[in-house]
């Protein structure tokens, strides 16, 4: 799975940036879910998920992001998506989730 999906985290003030690289599907989504759950569990509930290097995402990945958004909101936090590629943006648009998530062009734009 390590070759299919890589998630790196970086803290910027009270924000945590998750840089995701690879493909998010039924096989790899649990890895992203675990990372998000660990951060929220540790009290890091202002999350920016950088999707700029995500080449593919299906509804399983959307489910993970929705779950994390819910947990962030429950703890008074936020979850923003950053620079999704065209293919991922299309899935968000088809499902209407582009209106549910806060979507930004850059990490700086998100955290400023």
């Amino acid at each position: 799975m390590a070759d299919d999906l890589v998630v790196q985290t970086e803290e910027r003030g009270d924000w945590t940036i998750l840089s995701v690289r690879g493909e998010v599907d039924l096989y790899t989504a649990p890895h992203l879910k675990d990372q998000l759950a660990a951060l929220v569990g540790a009290g890091r509930n202002r999350l920016a998920v950088d999707l700029g290097q995500v080449e593919f995402m299906d509804s399983t990945g959307l489910g993970v992001l929705i779950g994390a958004l819910k947990r962030c909101k429950e703890s008074g936090g936020v979850l923003a998506l950053v620079s999704p590629r065209e293919s991922v943006a299309k899935v968000l648009a088809i499902t209407g989730l582009d209106k549910v998530f806060s979507i930004h062009d850059s990490v700086d734009d998100t955290t400023s």
């Binding site: 299919d4 593919f56 299906d58 959307l62």
Partner: protein
């Protein structure tokens, strides 16, 4: 002449990417535009996830055939109404979302998408071109 292609994989989420690669390679071979290839990859991934959400799935089976310059994909779906699988799926909420969204997503991408009964059981079918 109808050209037929078949891919049978173990019922494991690790092979969903393989199914996408098979379908996208086939589509590119037949010069399907890149933006449509991306739609095919998404539809295949959704269909495979839907198939694997059924408990007792014995294999992941993808078939394609080309007729009159159209490419038809078929993905076996397991028995309708069967319980969701528990072992190799991420979370109940993710499974529920995938099950709920998958068919809608495929239908949004390919308007003829449907699940029909086949001799091998339920099949999700959609046409490109």
């Amino acid at each position: 002449m109808t050209e037929r292609f078949t891919l049978d994989l173990p019922p494991d989420a690790a092979y969903v990417g393989t199914a996408r690669m098979f379908a996208s390679t086939l589509a590119r071979h037949f010069e399907v535009p890149d933006e449509v290839v991306e739609d095919i990859k998404l539809a295949i991934s959704e269909a495979c996830s839907r198939a694997l959400a059924v408990e007792g799935a014995e294999h992941l089976s993808l078939r394609a055939h080309r007729v009159d310059h159209r490419l038809v994909f078929e993905i076996e779906q397991g028995e309708l109404g069967a319980a969701p699988a528990a072992a190799d799926t991420p979370t109940p909420s993710s499974v529920e979302l995938a099950a709920g969204l998958s068919l809608e997503l495929v239908s949004a991408l390919f308007e003829d998408a449907e699940v029909t009964a086949d001799s091998a059981g339920p099949v999700l079918r959609f046409t490109v071109g």
